[in-house]
């Protein structure tokens, strides 16, 4: 539960002042109810801001004095102006490291979140062991008033001292790329692996799907991807047409082309994958990523088609494979005309889209075709089943780790 929030000062006049660049002088404080304001100035280096607690003569409630102008924080401004609300990948963010006493960390972090921090991280308390103080790292959107936020949080947490903090600007980088180094090759089942681009397949004999995830979803590690891949392995017999609804990295589409039930024919195995895969997604990042993965796995562009569909799922999409400047809207017509002709439709997205787009998803499958939906938790299955049982028969549910996949065949 939130601590009782004790009020800070009005930030508006101060903020306006702060917009002027590189001010080092004092700012006239708005008078607090109990004490008179007196300006003062400090010399501050752009990145380091040390605040000393200045208790004000208070009467009645405990009003905190916000010591120094927060212009130093602005000095760090990388040319931005008003607080940016966009979650732009390339916009810088403010990272603030605050030191405070161990026992205050919990309450202070709650307060910070309340007053504008987008995230608060506390390094492990147990590890800090013998130290009296610990460090909290807080992230603010670019342009936020850090100083008022910290002081408000401190006063609401009931701290008698003002915590010392330093601010630095973090350059936004592609976090997903940074984390990607930790991705490992995943074995879905014997003979089927999903390998990140930069790793070598541990089993060259197996069917290896090579993926470069980018910002799209589907590295093969998630239980829902595994569920879908297993399903594909069982149902693809050869020569089918597959639609991957919400394709992400394209992993399911590629898998369908490569995988199949092994058919023993006389003395040799005959592997036949699907005849054609189509992947659609509303996220341009996903389509780009799927395109790249298609190349990585050496798949012909006539065996796999990718479409970017607008969020309202109308047919105004472009075939993404030819990368030509003129994107003709004919792709949309192709997609629309292919409705009702797919043997397998796989949709690994989320509960709400699945419920909203029932008719759209079912519409793509041919009568008697298999429809598989995933990306749902086990507890969400009844809802999905209820929505889809109008159109599907022979419904069966498979589960891994609390995630479920529901499949059925379309009623004629």
């Amino acid at each position: 539960m939130l601590p009782l929030v004790r009020p800070g000062r009005a930030a508006a006049p101060l903020r306006r002042l702060c917009r002027r660049i590189l001010l080092l002088s004092s700012s006239p404080q708005t008078p607090s109810p109990s004490s008179s304001s007196s300006p003062y100035s400090t010399k501050i280096s752009p990145l380091l801001l040390l605040l000393s607690p200045r208790p004000s003569p208070a009467s009645g409630g405990a009003w905190r004095w916000r010591g120094v102008s927060s212009c130093a924080v602005r000095a760090v401004d990388v040319g931005g102006e008003a607080a940016s609300t966009s979650s732009d990948l390339s916009s810088p963010y403010l990272s603030v490291r605050i030191r405070c006493r161990k026992e205050d960390a919990e309450v202070l972090s709650e307060g910070l979140l309340c007053f504008g921090a987008t995230s608060v991280t506390v390094d492990d308390i147990a590890a800090a062991g013998n130290l009296d103080e610990i460090t909290i790292t807080s992230i603010y959107a670019h342009g936020e008033d850090v100083d008022s936020s910290v002081s408000n949080a401190a006063s609401s947490a009931g701290l008698e001292y003002k915590p010392v903090y330093e601010t630095s600007v973090g350059k936004q980088c592609d976090w997903v790329t940074v984390v990607q180094e930790t991705y490992e090759s995943t074995k879905v089942i014997n003979g089927l692996w999903v390998i990140p681009k930069w790793r070598t397949p541990p089993d060259p004999q197996a069917i290896n799907i090579i993926i470069n995830p980018g910002l799209a979803f589907g590295t093969g590690e998630h239980p829902t991807t595994k569920l879908c891949l297993l399903l594909l392995r069982e149902t693809v017999k050869g020569g089918e047409r597959l639609l991957d609804y919400g394709t992400g990295t394209g992993v399911l589409g590629i898998a369908a082309l490569k995988v199949s039930c092994l058919v023993l024919l006389v003395y040799y195995y005959l592997q036949m994958g699907a005849a054609l895969s189509t992947g659609i997604d509303i996220d341009p990042q996903a389509v780009t990523s799927a395109c790249e993965n298609m190349m990585l796995n050496g798949i012909d562009s006539n065996k796999m088609l990718l479409y970017l569909v607008p969020t309202n799922a109308q047919a105004a999409c472009f075939p993404n494979i030819d990368k030509s400047e003129e994107n003709k809207p004919t792709g949309g017509l192709e997609l629309k005309s292919s409705k009702g002709s797919y043997d397998i439709v796989a949709a690994n997205i989320l509960l709400n889209p699945l419920l909203e787009l029932v008719e759209d998803i079912i519409g793509y499958a041919k009568p008697g075709g298999i429809v598989a939906v995933s990306g749902i938790l086990t507890e969400q299955v009844p809802k999905v089943e209820e929505a889809y049982s109008r159109y599907l028969e022979n419904i069966s549910v498979s589960e891994i780790d609390g995630w479920a996949c529901l499949q059925g065949s379309r009623k004629a």
Partner: protein, 155 residues
């Protein structure tokens, strides 16, 4: 997957505790999730997918509080909690920001019914279950007072 934090701590060495506010159903690798998790090399996409799936039942874009526990072996667990009381109050009162001078400026007013509804919502939060409805209400009224929102019996 999201077990209680207590026995989680007992099992594996904890690297850090991360608290975030993320809009329901809309987690992306961008901030706030990106820098916070990326710093500890946690699997961003897995968190996004997991979080989005678990928050499907809430109204889209409500800012949920999430507490993540990152372990030393790059795994993590998280708990999703309801939005902050301040947010509920702002929504109920229809205002964007709380009063700049609480105690002096009253920005808006709410009835006891609103407080009661908010308390009921908060009680479903795993961490507030032990508090009685009355205690929750008192706490909400306290927060409202500090935001400059007046609580009246009837509007």
């Amino acid at each position: 997957m999201a077990t209680t934090l207590k026995d989680a701590v007992a099992r594996k060495p904890v690297l850090a505790t991360i608290r975030l506010i993320v809009p329901a159903g809309a987690a992306r690798p961008a901030p706030p999730v990106g820098p916070a998790l990326g710093f500890y090399r946690l699997n961003l996409m897995a968190f996004c997918k997991d979080f989005n799936a678990r928050t499907q039942k809430y109204k889209a874009e409500t800012p949920m509080q999430v507490t993540l526990t990152a372990y030393k072996d790059s795994t993590f667990e998280f708990v999703v909690k309801s939005p902050s009381v301040a947010w509920f109050l702002k929504k109920a009162a229809g205002i964007e920001t709380a009063s700049g001078r609480p105690g002096h400026n009253v920005v808006s007013s709410l009835t006891l019914r609103h407080v009661y509804e908010i308390a009921k919502l908060k009680q479903s939060d795993p961490y507030c279950k032990h508090m009685s409805l009355e205690a929750l209400c008192k706490s909400i009224i306290g927060t409202a007072n500090s935001m400059g929102i007046e609580i009246v019996k009837d509007l």
